[in-house]
Symmetry: D2
Subunit: 311 residues, 4 copies
Amino acid sequence: MNSDQLSDQRLQEALKTAYLRGKEVTGKGAVATYIPELGKARPEAVGLCITTKDGKVYKAGDSNIRFTMQSVSKLLSLAMALEIRGYDTVFEHVGMEPSGVAFNSIVELDTRTKPHNPLINAGAIAVESLLIEYKQFEDMLNFARTVCLDPEITLNRQVYNSEMATCDRNRAIAYLLKSKNVIHTNVDTSIELYTKICSINVSAESLANFAMVLANGGVNPLNGERLLKESTAQTVKAIMFTCGMYDGSGTFAVEVGIPTKSGVGGGLLSVVDGKMGIGVYGPSLDENGNSIAGITALKYLSKELGLHMFA
Amino acid sequence: MNSDQLSDQRLQEALKTAYLRGKEVTGKGAVATYIPELGKARPEAVGLCITTKDGKVYKAGDSNIRFTMQSVSKLLSLAMALEIRGYDTVFEHVGMEPSGVAFNSIVELDTRTKPHNPLINAGAIAVESLLIEYKQFEDMLNFARTVCLDPEITLNRQVYNSEMATCDRNRAIAYLLKSKNVIHTNVDTSIELYTKICSINVSAESLANFAMVLANGGVNPLNGERLLKESTAQTVKAIMFTCGMYDGSGTFAVEVGIPTKSGVGGGLLSVVDGKMGIGVYGPSLDENGNSIAGITALKYLSKELGLHMFA
Amino acid sequence: MNSDQLSDQRLQEALKTAYLRGKEVTGKGAVATYIPELGKARPEAVGLCITTKDGKVYKAGDSNIRFTMQSVSKLLSLAMALEIRGYDTVFEHVGMEPSGVAFNSIVELDTRTKPHNPLINAGAIAVESLLIEYKQFEDMLNFARTVCLDPEITLNRQVYNSEMATCDRNRAIAYLLKSKNVIHTNVDTSIELYTKICSINVSAESLANFAMVLANGGVNPLNGERLLKESTAQTVKAIMFTCGMYDGSGTFAVEVGIPTKSGVGGGLLSVVDGKMGIGVYGPSLDENGNSIAGITALKYLSKELGLHMFA
Amino acid sequence: MNSDQLSDQRLQEALKTAYLRGKEVTGKGAVATYIPELGKARPEAVGLCITTKDGKVYKAGDSNIRFTMQSVSKLLSLAMALEIRGYDTVFEHVGMEPSGVAFNSIVELDTRTKPHNPLINAGAIAVESLLIEYKQFEDMLNFARTVCLDPEITLNRQVYNSEMATCDRNRAIAYLLKSKNVIHTNVDTSIELYTKICSINVSAESLANFAMVLANGGVNPLNGERLLKESTAQTVKAIMFTCGMYDGSGTFAVEVGIPTKSGVGGGLLSVVDGKMGIGVYGPSLDENGNSIAGITALKYLSKELGLHMFA
């Protein structure tokens, strides 16, 4: 596929169909309720946004509704840590292997010297602990605004408070990491930062923008400004492809073939390398905690537009 | 064997030989250092004490040195919880199966609904959390003084402070238990109580006394006073036999055959059912964290005096 | 408890009540069907037999029905290997720790140098492989007749053939043991021998007799003949207590407190040390694969007659 | 990168440097010896071959030495099964998730309904069992000759015999798969076929050719003949990327970024999608069982020529 050959019309039509396909299946999933505040989302909401390197923006449905980034924010933390602390330091504290286990696993953590990868909770907590001496949450919020090309991003206080009340498992992970000398920060501080970053409000369009920057090697294609090092973008994309969808990462790589990261807030961020970014909102989740409408829409787009990495 | 048939002289001689055998091997182990304050123990110290149902006390070596109870205190907590909360409530929150894994394992905990048994850290934290609404640490200290027939038992503040500074793994366990709804208490409170009970100062004689009370079905044989329900003593002894020596419990059951609980402070508490209690102090530990002199001495006593459960 | 003090009448009455209690619950379990031939058993059958050191025999129900020994035969193999190859050789090839996992587990086997213990399939296959150069199946059959005081024991060909057709998992275990150099025999030969020993026909009375011999330290109390070394009986009893009921061994030790081994044929062999042997037949199994009537009957007998090890 | 822009000279020079870099490190690894016949390889041998879509062939070192395909053959079996049995049938019997464990793991297999993916031993045995009713080994040999554009491929009888003598672990895996109803074939037949396919003799050039066909969507670029369905090539490449290097797959994806499959015979097959195939021979292996010279050479080529998927 060559994005240049994708006419406006074809893209817009494909997006509309993808949206409708996604809409159809929202009833088969359910919104996350383990964080009570997330349970208030409208399950039938679906929003899609594609932004291309040449500056075009395509939207369908609720593409400007705000929702919390949740695990999609692990990409932000990884990117920022790579920029500030460097590749070697980051990967002394976290691996880059798929875990084959659930996002919040402790089981496997204990037998290893460091978390499997930066896209599971344990790995993200380790990555963020590398940032604590260097950056405040405000800095990370500004970083998010920059790479998402979205100055409107803010902290969602209700979700943050709701999550802080239900984060015992993440505290367990952080204390285990501390006992294994992977992190050396105060656990309360680490968990607060981790939870705040999860709780920032984005839209499908913000995610599409960040994905587009990654697709374009770290450069904002609209003005040529470099926002991330090329090596940072490359590392983030490779890890997204192998580890982005938790224990369903391999299947997603085969069936959809687009590096993607999901969050339980209903967000999906997909990088069509060299071409475009795709952002999705769809809070009705499948049994793996991924947006059920989003997966359906991405499968359709991958096939219809030939977006599979190995197509 | 019938304790009545064991003459004073034979017991005293066996104890002396056991002491010398233990003394010989202290150089092959090492004192625990992961809690810095424990590292100050004299590795060559060995103390043994036997107390029999008919009120006789036999001693050898450093039988009155004070040391912290550590994991032997898990017996205290289990006994007290059985007395106050009852069998059913206790075992709704903790299992009674050997874990086959290390004392501070998290690995296996995550796949289960409750800790394996009350004699590993996770299980003891769960058990103590059942006591928090009902009892203060002072009450538990008094309980220890009562069942050990030892009013001199106190909290060792130095060890307590040292442990509190290195208990991240136990905090991880407690938060995991909380996230799984096994405990509902404040984690800081639970960890404080857990660590305090681990840090109380006993002697080999105190342990022998508690063991004798258990051997005698919960009754102080010296004055006939019932200190524990018969069912409590029975349950504690059975769990000691199958789970008391961590992942070496099975081997110890075959080779020594005396229900025993160890602690990294160097203590061992052994119940020769219906006959006597044995207390050991020997801070030089083998690779499993058990007193190396103590194991050697108990093996000798078991053979020499025919104390094996199935002899 | 002192068996001498148990009058004939009290024992007989307790046994009758235990039988009725067991009978009541047979409908709550189911006969094993993974070996098709076992599926033909009458689920409502229940047989109990107690044999005491002083030569008395108490029976209730279907105590003389023949059924296959299945996993109870692991005691035979362990005892014979201890007699012929010795303690050290046996435990170089198998551990003595409870596994905390199911009888036919492979999961945990791969991370260890040898099977957990001789009473799970992997351990029994390892133990029997030690016998292959020394003994034929006929020798083992005769050994069974001797220790069960039952010359009528024979191979059940139908069950044997049925099991040989469904033993892929055991073959997997045997090949894994071979690849780890735990066994060096031909796998086909090992599996044949293993399956044959599982398929010998016993009755509740045969099991009670073998249990009585173990309870009496390896000596046939009826004629004073030593059938097993004292050390063999001691080792077998200790391992039964900690490992005899698979992943329910700890709970059984606490709640019933009698060293017992179960088989999916519906048999249970229980050793009341120094006192008596108990044999059970009850092919309706609970979810752990243990005779549901048998467990119920043993719980009753333990309480009623004070047979708990720590009572 | 655009392969059209890579001049002959630049490619040839990069290949030569890659060869020298690889040659330098051969002393840091060791040839496989667990299959005795493999132990006879010259550890210092290194061969590289690149074949491009426009028909050019670049070689360095021992690019025409014959060696056995070993695990690289798992790609052949997967491709053939996808062609003959179809995507749905194949993935009913095997997953597509990275395992995070070693190539011959049994540990994790037992807790799942099917093997993790087709590129570990368990998965490959499952895939090949799907072929047994449909194809003989001769058919698979011919398939290998076709997709490798190499009519000289033959079975290496010495290696085959050597492997058959040391395949107890694979037999264990096969019997476990049979007991779980993943395979229904005779285990001996399955293991023979599996071992034969591992034992076919290829060269670095054969592997480069097969890789080029995959890079070209299943079509032989030299004559336009379609050898594999486009969907087969796509699936194989995606699984190679996430699962091709065992428990080092994630790290390789980040650091090299080229879908690659390794074998303990020293082979590596790398697909630079849409551009070229790379084949490597280097029997000195690193601790993960991958060609140490090959990894070094591929890292260099990826950087120097910009071959990383996300570059």
